[in-house]
């Protein structure tokens, strides 16, 4: 049966309605494609930035357009920790502990000046950036960042995931070890 022009123009994603469509791809790409489009966030809302995080999740900005609407309040089910707010020293080890409870693969977005660097709190009580404790993939600037900025950060993270070596590639002999970050 000859393809109609409309069908042949459809992009090469798997479509169960169009039988016989076969996609050739690399396992890495397939895994990464699935990972990057269902990033379940662990909302680590610690201060004012969390309000913008909530706005990002709400209908006006709608983070679900990027597959990240499933805010999980259990670290066991989440993929990306969004640290939104001021990390005090009193809270710091709790954040670290929740991070440790998240299963691999996992990513971290530092949202706002405070989570990235301590922000305006050059003080005895505030950890000067969550990257002192956990590895951060994307820093979002702003105090607070607008929801668009967080979404931009999320898209940057998706770009980053696209290029990652997935599990299979790492099993191949001679493949470089994933970079480890000292706490």
């Amino acid at each position: 049966m000859a393809d109609s022009p409309a069908t042949s123009l459809q992009h090469a994603a798997y479509d169960s309605k169009v039988e016989g469509n076969v996609i050739f791809t690399r396992v890495d790409s397939a895994i990464n494609w699935m990972r990057k489009n269902s990033l379940w966030p662990m909302p680590m809302g610690l201060a004012c930035c969390a309000i913008e995080l909530m706005a990002t999740g709400a209908s006006r900005f709608d983070i679900s357009r990027f597959g990240a609407e499933v805010m999980r309040f259990s670290p066991r089910q989440s993929d990306v920790m969004i640290v939104a707010g001021t990390v005090t020293y009193k809270m710091a080890l709790a954040v670290k502990r929740i991070w440790d409870q998240m299963p691999e693969p996992k990513w971290c977005i530092a949202m706002g000046a405070c989570a990235s660097s301590g922000g305006m709190y050059r003080s005895y009580a505030v950890l000067q950036g969550i990257d002192n404790l956990i590895p951060v993939d994307v820093y979002v600037s702003g105090c607070p960042p607008r929801p668009e900025a967080l979404i931009d950060g999320l898209m940057k993270l998706q770009k980053k995931i696209e290029g990652e070596a997935s599990t299979v590639a790492q099993l191949k002999t001679g493949a470089p070890e994933p970079e480890t970050v000292e706490a």
Binding site: K90, L93, R122
Partner: protein, 192 residues
Amino acid sequence: MSSAADIAKSLQDEFGAAILSTVEFRGEHTAIVDREKARDILAHCHGKLGFDYLIDLSSVDHYGEDPRWELVYELYSLANGENVHLRIKYTLPEDEKAPTVSDLWPTANWHEREVYDMMGIEFDGHPDLRRILMWEGYPFFPLRKDFPLAGRPSEMPDVAFTNRAPLAGGPFVTAPTSGSTVKREPRSREMD
């Protein structure tokens, strides 16, 4: 009893020399009292004078002076419906404890814990004098004037740690002048 002025006067009649002085500023009255009698005076305010609301309890660090601490109690009366606000102050040497008032005003419980947490002033008779903002085991009292804004390193394994914050030369301050923004808002001002 009606106005704060009358009340300040009545305190003087009742306690005499224990009321070291009274100050009036824009209708607000402050009584500076003797620390030996402070607890009695506060109890009198609570019981006889009807100050049923402790707005705030705070402390001042007069670093380098003796006595070093000053405690400030802001009292208000909800019962008599008039805008009567009385402030009681007394000083305290560094090695002495302050009397608790948490049995008079239950709200003082947490206020006193905060004063203890931030300044290290202890309260005699407090039912549960633990830290309230910092964690148990944090070794410093951060609101003391001899504690640097940047903090000091500390370590409590599995609980919390602290480090010095980078201040890039000093605390960021504004200096009121008519000069340019660069003059008005220096990134840091040299500390003497």
